[in-house]
Structure formats: structure tokens, C-alpha cells
């Protein structure tokens, strides 16, 4: 990790369960989301007991119970058809005390899982994590293109409108891909500040990724809030350090 992110923390209060017809798809999505949110418990529930394609009631029930242990709340993401139906059947049958801590998100499986994991890693509550999953489709869909960057101003100085601005050049050879995007989103969750990079919400890993920023791209940062200055300082340091990748 980069050292710019405090990963020594309590496990997130919201865990994820990823339900797929395929054992490999669930495990792969869990790995992908987990790489960006190491503090979040992500339980994969894919395939049948014999490894074949399908959804297994007991498997899903056990995954939800494991995710919900230690008082955690749970957001469940599913792929197609019976994954949704079987999860609904499980939630109808479990104890009400457990069911009320679980949300079945109507969200794209991979994008929603990544968004939910990063949001949960930032310490968000159940409703916020579920909402981030459900908004993932909109923030990744066609037409959700990058906004125009803000004009250049002196870095780190608050302007008359109270917004702290900075401009940096992206150094990472692979651009602002999933891992550094997740680093940014996680890091900013620790500050009381609203931060935008090239006009998109820097707390959203999906919005950062969809910027498609490549090596050498100019990143215009704008922040507001009580810790805007600190947030911008941390972010510019991380960008200058290539997010630990260079």
C-alpha cells in the first residue's frame, strides 16, 4: 500500500455478499472489490455445492450469516434471475433481526460491488453503501463522461469562494486506473471535505476511473469543507508519489 492510507483500522461496519451463478465470477468480483477495499469483509457466494452453475439457498444463507456476524450490516449484490430470487427467499426466512441489517442492492454486479466496497471502506453506513452500489450504473454508463477541468490557480490556496484548488500532473504509467482511484476515494473518506477531481466526485472510485486519465494528464482539484486544505494536501502528495506505483 501507499502509506497515504490508514489501513490499520477496525473492519468496516458494512460487509458485502456477492451472489452469482458462477463460483469463479463471485470469487473474481470479490477479489477485484477487495483489492480496492481491504478493510471490508467481502463474502463470495457463487455456484452450486458441486461447483456447477446455479444459486444455492444454503450457500447464500451461510454467506449472509457470516457477513453479518459481529453485528455488521450487509449489502448483497447479485447477478441474474435466480440469484435475486434465492436471495429474496433467504431474506424472507432469516430472523427479522438479521433481515433488517441486510439490503439487497439493485445494482450492476461488478461495478456495484466495487463502488459498495470502497464506500464501505470509507466507513459509510448501510444505506449509503447500498446507494453507492445502486448509483454505480449511472456513474459508469455511456454519457457519464468526464467534466471539464477547473481553471489553473495557485495550488492549495483558498479562493474567495472558500474553495481550495490545486493542479497536478498524473505520473502513473498506467494512469488513474482502479487501484489508485480506490486509494484516492478511500483517503478522502477520512477528511471532512468535498473534493472534486476534474469536476467529478473524488470520493467515487467509479467516477475517478471513468475520467480515463492517462499518464501526463492534468488533474484539477477543487475542495470545500472544514478540512479542504488538508484533503488537498494529502491528495497532491499522493499524486506526486504516483500512488506508490512509481
Amino acid at each position: 500500500m501507499t502509506g497515504t492510507v490508514d489501513d490499520v483500522r477496525e473492519p468496516a461496519a458494512v460487509a458485502l455478499v456477492l451472489v452469482s451463478h458462477s463460483r469463479e465470477l463471485a470469487a473474481g468480483a470479490a477479489e477485484l472489490a477487495g483489492q480496492m477495499a481491504p478493510g471490508v469483509l467481502i463474502v463470495a457466494a457463487g455456484g452450486m455445492a458441486d461447483g456447477g452453475l446455479g444459486t444455492d439457498y444454503e450457500h447464500i444463507e451461510q454467506a449472509i450469516e457470516r457477513a453479518a456476524s459481529d453485528g455488521r450490516s450487509v449489502v448483497v449484490l447479485t447477478d441474474l434471475g435466480s440469484a435475486v430470487l434465492t436471495t429474496e427467499a433467504v431474506l424472507e426466512a432469516v430472523a427479522p433481526e438479521l433481515a433488517q441489517r441486510v439490503r439487497l442492492a439493485d445494482a450492476p454486479f461488478v461495478e456495484g460491488g466495487v463502488a459498495a466496497a470502497v464506500t464501505a471502506h470509507g466507513g459509510a453506513g448501510l444505506d449509503e453503501v447500498a446507494a453507492s452500489a445502486e448509483h454505480a450504473a449511472a456513474s459508469f454508463g455511456p454519457g457519464a463522461s468526464a467534466a471539464v477541468g477547473a481553471p489553473e490557480v495557485a495550488p492549495g490556496e483558498a479562493t474567495d469562494d472558500g474553495v481550495v484548488r490545486a493542479s497536478r500532473t498524473l505520473l502513473n504509467p498506467l494512469g488513474l486506473h482502479a487501484r489508485p482511484a480506490a486509494v484516492v476515494a478511500r483517503m478522502l473518506a477520512g477528511y471532512d471535505a468535498t473534493v472534486a477531481v476534474n469536476g467529478v466526485n473524488a470520493a467515487s472510485v467509479l467516477e475517478l476511473m471513468k475520467l480515463g486519465a492517462t499518464q501526463g494528464a492534468q488533474l484539477q482539484i477543487e475542495a470545500s469543507g472544514t478540512q479542504a486544505r488538508e484533503a488537498v494536501a494529502a491528495l497532491t502528495d499522493a499524486i506526486d508519489a504516483g500512488f506508490g506505483e512509481i
Binding site: 455445492a49 446455479g54 450457500h59 430470487l85 434465492t86 429474496e88 427467499a89
Partner: protein, 213 residues
């Protein structure tokens, strides 16, 4: 006249037999408008149900116990959407049959509860080319037969006949629920596999009731 736990067990065994016998037909129907796994999924599910029945140390005390065993086993072994749909149907039916026997009104309650389970889980209604198109007329015909004073076996027979007609009536429909809905207009002209398997299972109930008589 009433139907007892032995009837319920016989019904389940007959359901397994007919599902296995029609496995290829159900696969072919599902291949035309779905993903081709319905026959294999139900065969696997009901085979697992038989294994659970055979492993019981004592016979189930109530019809509901039999149906609950079917429900939980199907939900964990079918794999496709039929698992939670049939599973919820059997589960709701089990709740409606907590005794060791059912009369005609009890048979109606069983079928109506099963239909409610499928509707609740699948959020489908009639005319959408689904299992509901077999179950809904079946429950309706059963209620009418019971009201007319029919015996339980005749109530089931009325239900099975209506389910067969309902399944057949899915052929011209355009699917608007489930996997077949992905095909849109191209789903017309095919028998819905879920409606067909529902018909088979209700016909198995009639055969078991005839044997119990």
C-alpha cells in the same frame, strides 16, 4: 374422504419420477426460449428430495413436514430460478397444511398457498408466460370443484386439467417475465417450460390421490 401424509410422500415421489421422465422434454422447451437447464435442474432437485426422503428415520408427521422438506431441498439444489420459485410454493403450501390429512378445502388451501408463493417470489401475474399461467387456473378450478362438493382426488384432477390447459395456452404468449422475456416477440410459439413442469407435478398429485383411493 381425505388425503394423508402417505399421499403427500407418494406425490413427491411421483413428481420426482415424472420430472426425471420428462427431463429431456423440459430441457428442449427451455432451450427454445431460455437457457436449457430447466429439465436438468428439476431432475437434480427432485433426485435430492428423494435422497432426503429415503434418509428420514421416521415418516413425517404432517403433510406440511413433507412439503417443507421438498421446499428447502429444491431451494438448495435446483440452481435456477425454479429453485426459489418452487421452493417458495412448497414452503407456503407447507404452512397451509400443518395437519396429517387434508380434505377438499385443504387441497384448495394448499394449491392457493403454492400459487401465492410463486407470485410473491416471481412477481409475475397471468399472461406473462410463466408457471403462474398453470398454477392460477389450477387453483381456481380446484376452488370451484371443492365448492361443488368434489372429493380431494377430483379437486386435484380439476386442478391438473386446468394446469394442462393453462400451460398449453402459454404457447402463443410473448414472455414478459423471466429469462424468456429476453427474447421478446421471439418467445411466442413455444410452450413455457415452467408451466409444463407445473402441469406435470399437479398430474403427479392426481396419480398419487388415485392410488390412495
Amino acid at each position: 374422504m381425505t388425503l394423508d401424509v402417505a399421499w403427500a410422500v407418494d406425490w413427491v415421489r411421483a413428481s420426482a419420477a415424472t420430472v426425471v421422465e420428462h427431463r429431456d422434454e423440459l430441457v428442449e422447451l427451455d432451450r427454445q426460449i431460455g437457457d436449457g437447464d430447466h429439465g436438468e435442474n428439476l431432475k437434480r432437485g427432485f433426485t435430492a428430495v428423494l435422497a432426503k426422503l429415503d434418509a428420514l428415520e421416521a415418516p413425517p408427521a404432517t403433510i406440511g413436514d413433507v412439503l417443507k422438506l421438498v421446499a428447502t431441498t429444491l431451494m438448495s439444489t435446483v440452481g435456477g430460478a425454479a429453485g426459489p420459485l418452487y421452493g417458495t410454493a412448497y414452503l407456503r403450501a407447507a404452512k397451509a397444511c400443518g395437519s396429517s390429512s387434508v380434505d377438499s378445502a385443504g387441497v384448495v388451501a394448499l394449491l392457493e398457498a403454492g400459487l401465492e408463493g410463486i407470485v410473491a417470489r416471481g412477481k409475475a401475474t397471468t399472461g406473462e408466460k410463466t408457471m403462474v399461467d398453470a398454477w392460477s387456473p389450477a387453483a381456481e378450478a380446484a376452488a370451484k370443484a371443492s365448492a361443488d362438493g368434489a372429493q380431494p382426488a377430483q379437486v386435484l384432477e380439476a386442478a391438473a386439467v386446468a394446469a394442462a390447459a393453462g400451460a398449453e395456452a402459454t404457447v402463443p404468449l410473448v414472455a414478459t417475465k423471466g429469462r424468456a422475456s429476453y427474447l421478446g416477440e421471439r418467445s411466442a410459439g413455444h410452450l413455457d417450460p415452467g408451466a409444463r413442469s407445473s402441469q406435470l407435478i399437479l398430474e403427479a398429485a392426481v396419480a398419487a390421490a388415485d392410488r390412495a383411493a
